[in-house]
């Protein structure tokens, strides 16, 4: 197991390095002129040269790369062009928001997806099964920004018109300040993010659960006289969950994408909002900072998921 984890961490480090390299190429080496972009349309050549110098773009590429990696390794992400605060502090302020959103949504979608899938698989061809299958297809086809708009309209705006203010439409309250208001502000974004992704998990769990329930050892478990609940949850679900965990590892990228969309719809001051804002304002250090943080998050999360995978299914450790 230890060797497996070490190998996985090494691979993760390589992936992260590749991502930082891609970011470097995108922003510093690619032929289009970042300096022109920053200096604005009516900039004089002198301004452009100044911006170039400030960004270090007039240095040789290798030299630039060395500086870039050196800064990154020291956690120095530079300063925002707009409010001259350090990118690190800008990002840190917003991490709790995105973290609350992502974690809550992921927990919710696993819960909804897996339980809907188990429900459908244990009663194949029943009404519940069909409802889950149709619902899954519907939400699977639903772009998350569209669901966000619908949820916002019905559960925020219509309810507010009716004088029911259960769900605030924007803003964020820190958990430490008031856990209740924190959850209240996040409920709609959580569900928006969770429902779209839960659909995939419902389909996946249903399929793999049906496969597993047809296996010999499930028949053996039943023949031993175990309760149906124990057969399904202890014997069936554990092995049916392996593809679900794999999918979970793949979905971190999707999760981050969803966070960007949902934060922008519900006005949550998180990393996604920061990312879009800085792209629109062409605040490059902030853009680079958020991308690298997101990449690091995905790499770390994937390592954790792979370790879980190893625990869940011992065969993985051998390969």
């Amino acid at each position: 197991m230890a060797e497996f984890v070490v190998r996985r961490i090494a691979l993760g480090a390589v992936v992260l390095w590749v991502m930082t390299a891609v970011v470097f190429v995108m922003f510093f080496v690619a032929p289009h002129n970042v300096a022109n972009l920053i200096a604005g349309r009516q900039a004089t050549p002198e301004t452009v040269a100044l911006v170039k110098h400030r960004l270090g773009l007039d240095q040789p590429v290798l030299h630039q790369y060395r500086d870039y990696m050196w800064r990154l390794l020291h956690g120095n992400l530079g300063y925002s062009f707009y409010n001259s605060t350090s990118v690190r502090s800008l990002i840190w302020q917003r991490v709790p928001v995105s973290f609350s959103l992502a974690l809550g949504a992921a927990a919710l979608w696993l819960l909804i997806g897996v339980s809907a899938g188990v429900l459908a698989a244990t009663r194949p061809r029943s009404l519940a099964d069909r409802a889950v299958t149709m619902g899954a297809l519907f939400f699977y086809s639903m772009p998350s920004f569209l669901l966000g708009v619908v949820v916002f309209y019905l559960l925020f705006y219509r309810l507010h018109l009716a004088g029911i203010g259960w769900f605030p439409g924007n803003g964020y309250v820190a958990f430490t300040q008031s856990p209740w208001r924190w959850a209240q502000h996040l409920v709609l974004p959580w569900f928006t993010l969770a429902l779209v992704t839960a659909a995939t998990y419902a389909r996946l769990t249903r399929g793999s659960m049906l496969d597993v329930l047809g296996e010999e050892y499930i028949r053996t478990a039943r023949a031993k006289g175990l309760t149906e609940r124990r057969v399904i949850y202890r014997h069936g679900l554990r092995s049916a969950l392996t593809p679900v965990v794999t999918q979970f590892g793949i979905d971190f990228g999707t999760l981050l994408g969803g966070v960007i969309i949902v934060e922008n719809i519900f006005g949550l001051p998180g990393l996604g909002q920061l990312a879009v804002q800085s792209v629109v304002q062409q605040d490059l250090p902030v853009v680079i900072g958020t991308i690298i943080l997101a990449a690091a998050f995905i790499v770390v999360a994937n390592i954790v998921v792979d370790a879980c995978y190893g625990i869940l299914d011992p065969r993985v450790r051998v390969h």
């Binding site: 995108m26 086809s141 639903m142 569209l146 708009v149 922008n264 879009v276 790499v299």
Partner: protein, 307 residues
């Protein structure tokens, strides 16, 4: 579903290829037919968008500040002269929704096809060559698959500027790797088959084996994947446009129309509803059809809704 066994020896026994069987299964699937009809309708509407605009008498970019807005300057509701109402500039929402279908389909189909071509070629080489080539290509695909794609997409847009070409490029770049992975897996198992060995003993070159012997056997999984890729590419384009980073106004797309409409959701429900419905119907039709295609090609009962 299955044809009845030939009775009484009167009807001749006809051999049916797997493709023919799949086609028959697909044709008897009512949901699939309905979805196929919907998609054909959307394609026809998109292709004849200028004709439709002429027939209705509005242009997608025609801002009618006097007749297209209420005296207060707000969008007009649906009526006979504006079937889906008007938007905040007094433009006809119906005509814009129709024109937006062109962008969505174009982005969806072009990006998915490019991704399929790239994925098939890379997957074939990786799976067939094995060894170092396989390792390098597979790791590349792994890295691309673990990219936070929406974030990289918007970052790229931020430096090269938003346009349809960039959107298509971004979608292709982040989609081909999953195709490649599937093709690689299939190729690895197919290249051990006897017919490949037979071809090799007849002196066929590696390229011929890859593209003439193996490729035709990959059509089914690739086709299934294409039907899944198109709707996700359409959603990706709509999402980028929604965030203001895809196709930019005044060119109408369902995504940027929705983004504009959000400033008016309190007064103009039609402005939100029609682009949203168009987008949802399109993705739903493609996904349902994709599901049926998968069933038709791989009809092993209980694997119905498995990816």
């Amino acid at each position: 579903m299955l044809e009845p066994p030939p009775g009484g020896g009167s009807s001749p026994v006809v051999a049916k290829s797997p493709w023919r069987l799949a086609w028959q299964r697909l044709r008897s699937d009512r949901v699939a037919l309905a979805c196929a009809a919907t998609i054909v309708l959307i394609v026809v509407v998109a292709l004849s968008a200028p004709l439709i605009a002429d027939a209705v008498g509005h242009k997608p970019g025609e801002a009618d500040q006097s007749g297209g807005l209420t005296p207060e300057g707000l969008p007009l509701g649906p009526s006979w002269s504006h079937l889906f109402g008007t938007d905040y500039l007094g433009r006809d929402v119906f005509v814009r929704v129709v024109f937006a279908a062109r962008i969505s389909l174009l982005a969806g189909v072009v990006a998915s096809s490019l991704a399929i071509v790239a994925g098939v070629v890379v997957g074939l080489f990786a799976g067939y060559a094995g060894g170092l080539v396989d390792t390098v290509l597979s790791r590349t695909m792994d890295v691309i698959l673990s990219f936070p794609f929406l974030l990289f997409g918007i970052a790229l847009v931020s430096i090269v500027g938003p346009s349809l070409t960039v959107v298509i490029g971004v979608i292709t770049f982040f989609s081909w790797a999953s195709v490649g992975r599937i093709v690689r897996g299939q190729t690895i198992s197919l290249k051990e088959r006897e017919y490949v060995e037979a071809a090799r003993s007849l002196g066929a070159s590696d390229l011929r084996i890859m593209f003439v012997e193996i490729l035709p056997n990959l059509v089914a999984p690739v086709l299934v994947y294409l039907t899944l890729l198109i709707p996700s590419a359409i959603v990706f384009e709509a999402t980028l446009s929604f965030l203001g980073l895809g196709v930019i106004p005044p060119t109408p797309t369902w995504g940027n129309m929705l983004a504009e409409s959000l400033g008016f959701y309190q007064v103009a429900w039609w402005y939100v509803l029609f682009p949203a419905t168009a987008l949802l119907i399109t993705t739903l039709a493609f996904n349902l059809l994709g599901d049926s295609v998968r069933d038709a090609l791989d009809p092993r009962g209980e694997r119905l809704f498995r990816q």
